[in-house]
Symmetry: C2
Subunit: 220 residues, 2 copies
């Protein structure tokens, strides 16, 4: 139905729209998709003709309902494939994204429905991101960033803000993986670093940079 490239543009614009509330400008898309502004102008004209977004010259773009639907379907496919790669094929969580970037463009509604079923209708992908449902519904997560926890508070690691391979590998090598319980023992006033305890055992020192990129579900 829509090309590889069209789906990638829609997904990129959708993700930018999630953060900004204003119309998305050409440059932002160019940076996000690693291409040139001139190419973006060409493509958004085309997407606009196909009623996937609204485009006003020099004013940026906003996805239509149709465009948003296609974007969310692509995100759904991406996250289901990531889950498959991690849960069934034993890929580490830092390796799944690049392959899912390819798999998300396979065209077959039945394939995605059956994959979803096979995976047991997972709610979140290996990075803790919610997987949109068949009808596009996205469950809100009530996760907070670890650096918001007070001394003595506990959370379950539930996601990441930074998705870079480097960061994910760093977390994994320190047993900071999804589902682990983590308790803040001390917030060091000097550099805002965090001393934490993982599952009653290991004590770790986390830089503020790291603490700001881990999402936890707060326990009371």
């Amino acid at each position: 139905m829509y090309s590889f490239t069209e789906e990638n543009y829609l997904k990129a614009i959708y993700k930018l729209q999630e953060q900004s509330s204003e119309a998305i400008n050409t440059n932002a898309i160019a940076i996000s998709i690693q291409t040139k502004a001139a190419s973006v102008t060409d493509m958004i004209k085309k997407l606009s003709e196909k009623k996937l977004l609204e485009y006003e010259k020099y004013k940026g773009v906003v996805l239509t309902e149709l465009g948003k639907k296609v974007a969310i379907e692509t995100v759904r496919k991406h996250r289901l494939w990531e889950t498959f790669l991690h849960n069934k094929l034993n890929f580490t969580w830092d390796a799944v994204h690049d392959i899912a970037e390819q798999l998300e463009h396979i065209q077959s509604q039945e394939l995605i429905d059956k994959l979803d079923d096979f995976l047991g209708f997972p709610s979140h992908d290996p990075h803790g991101d919610p997987i949109p449902g068949k009808n596009g519904e996205i469950k809100e997560s009530n996760f907070v960033i670890l650096s918001e926890l007070m001394e003595g508070e506990t959370g379950i690691i539930s996601g990441v803000v930074n998705h870079s391979s480097l960061f994910l590998k760093h977390l994994e090598s320190n047993e900071l993986i999804l589902g682990k319980r983590i308790m803040v023992e001390e917030v060091v006033a000097f550099d805002n670093s965090f001393q934490v305890k993982i599952e009653g055992k290991k004590i770790l020192q986390l830089s503020n940079e790291v603490a700001r990129n881990i999402l936890v579900k707060k326990m009371k």
Copy 2:
């Protein structure tokens, strides 16, 4: 490494080469790949420059070792994905081919290795075709077509010659599926049709056309 289109050409030429032993001519490729002869000429020039095949003007093409390797890898990917779709996602055997045509072009050696492992290193795909190994080895099957069996002989259904969706659906609706034991009760002299018994129960009348398109492993 190689584009979607290049892989499709190599696979098509490989399959034609399996049957003919002579150089493969332009028209045969055009028909097999559903394109025009002029397009084929352009593409084989390109594949020749990339050392994937040897091309002599007006004389057709022969794959090089490299070209054959890429073709076999593509066949391997195709058949592993078909097996995944059938065995894990419960697609019927007539539905797997079209989706595998897309999946076979996903680029990741690690993905294929892990998929192979996940499936338990299957030797044959859902249509009974052998799955090439990681190093390109293809096991010979000693299957014969059902119409070669004599009255009283028994075979295990092990593959199909015709891969069309129509034929596969027809077989399935008659319980003629891989693994079933089938015994030839009578070969009707008039039209060379076959009266067969499946697994000790059902008796079926198969046209010669059908019998010529079923592969069986002969039992003694």
